[in-house]
Symmetry: C2
Subunit: 343 residues, 2 copies
DNA sequence: CTGTTAGCGCTTTCAA
DNA sequence: TTGAAAGCGCTAACAG
């Protein structure tokens, strides 16, 4: 147990000033019912004595911690960090801090994190479910206890009582593939992520829909659903894929920035010219696409805004009447295709 | 104020079982002084009633929150995120959570964050000072209050009472530049970051030392200290630099991964062949260097380990005797040069 | 405008 | 082995 010097507390100020603790508390709260002169005296004394309020005591007594719990599937995914940055920005502007936990792509960790938040340390929770998350009772149970929840990104099921923030994955990938088709591409490969993840299912659907709508032949061989949860394996999975195909793709639509970059890397190494022989599109647009040579065309996802929006919805819930039972908003944010040199 | 269903508390369990709150508390604590049979009864009842301890009340009463405060200069720097991941991993394994704040490269924010942590919400603090941070009284003041602090990365001054974790920036860049020199490079450019930042000063020193030691001419023209705190500007700063020089570099040593990538991008666009005409080295090795074509040689910084180490030192401080006054450890972690296609 | 007092939910002596 | 009761530091209802 670390040594802590005894902290100055309200009582100390009160005693020194010969007034009550309550008055000190009110004064520091800038409560107008306190005489200005006392208020000033209190402030000065507090300052002089180096008073620092005890947030824990405040929280216990007020029932509010001003902390927002955030659970993301992983840290090493720029998308999630960017969302966190957005959450943090909005939260701080509204006097909240954020406590981030990673579920490490595991449903079990997700549950544990949620439960640990249930111990009263956060006022509300923002969560992006893992690909493993099939049931939502753990989330519903939290909501039932009256703890506000907002979900974002990978949502498999509507959870009554929780707001959702997402993008239209389906439409976003449809548009991207449509763009490739209109450019005259015929052999369009698809590189997606874990099949269990809703966002990847939707992006795949968008791809299929576009292909069908324009009567472009879909080659099973040109479709890859990456299974990797790890950067390293993604790399070899994609390399193996391209080495194994017999049809030469003239375009590749990929479901993350990283897949897009790895695809470009692999294709360049195999001697393809980008974009002359093959076009590549990434998904996310979290910065790297711009640096790569050639720079990568991307579906831009408004990650920072997504974070801000989730925080906004959560904080709104804090201030809402107690309509826990039927409360639910679904917000779809707009994506756009950012054209660069890879297409 | 969000609606919260009344939570089950110790008192409820106590009443139902006709025992005292104290016994319930002890039972749940697995205190051996409680009869096994009561302990079991308590556990079962708690479970059945859906009891969840109130962490805030526990903290108030125990004086421990089991939360570690982390202050980093920015979120959108993979290095810091990777360090946080390391901190998180170690912390969680030891039953701590982390509360991350960004100082957004501002000394003022750094101070504010620190002060807000001083309100008793964290048991200790891990901090990486911004480039603006010249004085350390804000940190010392925290330490004086008995709150354990560990610093990492950009440390300008020894702060009595705080452990430090860093790498040997000087030596790391010396070795990298030495490597270039031994490869026969003569016109070695240097791209560093904000001059105010200690780590960049050291990396610059390493460059200079290596150049001098091997009697390689240092061309002022080939030296750039980026001033940007923002990704976008870094890009144009580096582009402008290379467009402005009259001496053709045959190697570029850069002080971050991003500078390295931007350098490669710029040089490739200008028609340079990498590594035939010019070699490039990055600093950090946080993943992107591997994907780029050509892949980038990097000074690999053990970021995750750095995070783990800081967390370890902090938690050690929690358990140490109260030798606040003269306590100080400086840990230097090893870097290595990871060779890839850009050299 | 200010003081008294009763909590907030849990831990921890001190007694029994 | 258990219970009673005094805090932890602050808030807020109530009284004056």
């Amino acid at each position: 147990m670390p040594f802590k010097k005894r902290r100055v507390k309200l009582e100390d100020i009160a005693r020194k000033l010969n007034i009550s603790i309550a008055t000190v508390s009110r004064a520091l709260d800038e409560n107008p019912r306190v005489k200005v002169s006392t208020r000033i005296k209190v402030f000065e004394t507090a300052q002089a004595m180096g008073y620092m309020p005890n947030q824990i005591a405040k929280s216990l007594s007020s029932g509010k911690t001003n902390i927002i719990g955030v659970i993301i599937p992983r840290y090493d995914e720029p998308f999630f960090i960017e969302v966190c940055r957005g959450i943090d920005r909005y939260a701080r502007n509204h006097n909240y801090k954020i406590l981030i936990s990673s579920s490490r792509n595991s449903f079990e960790f997700e549950r544990e994190n949620l439960i640990s938040f249930e111990r009263g340390i956060v006022d509300g929770i923002i969560l992006s479910p893992t690909h493993e998350t099939e049931t939502f009772t753990h989330i519903k149970s939290i909501i039932n206890k009256g703890i506000p929840v907002v979900l974002f990104d990978n949502i498999k099921e509507e959870v009554a009582g929780a707001d959702h923030v997402l993008i239209d994955d389906d439409k976003a990938s449809f548009s991207a593939v449509e763009f490739l088709i209109k450019k005259g591409k015929k052999q369009i490969a698809f590189i997606g992520g874990i099949k269990e993840k809703r966002v990847f299912q939707d992006r795949f659907k968008g791809y299929l829909d576009a292909m069908k709508k324009y009567n472009v032949t879909i080659h099973e061989e040109l479709i890859l659903h990456c299974n990797s949860l790890d950067r390293e394996y993604e790399d070899s999975e994609i390399q193996d894929f391209f080495k194994g195909i017999t049809i030469k793709p003239d375009a590749v639509f990929t479901c993350t920035d990283n897949y897009g970059l790895l695809t470009m890397k692999t294709l360049l190494k195999m001697g393809y010219k980008i974009p002359e022989e093959v076009a590549v599109i990434g998904f996310g647009d979290l910065g790297l696409g711009e640096v790569f040579v050639p720079s990568m065309t991307c579906v831009a996802q408004p990650s920072f805004e997504m974070g801000q929006k989730t925080a906004e919805l959560l904080i709104d819930q804090f201030n809402e009447p107690n309509d826990i039972d039927h409360h639910k908003k679904v917000i779809k944010l707009k994506t756009k295709l950012v054209l660069r040199d890879s297409t």
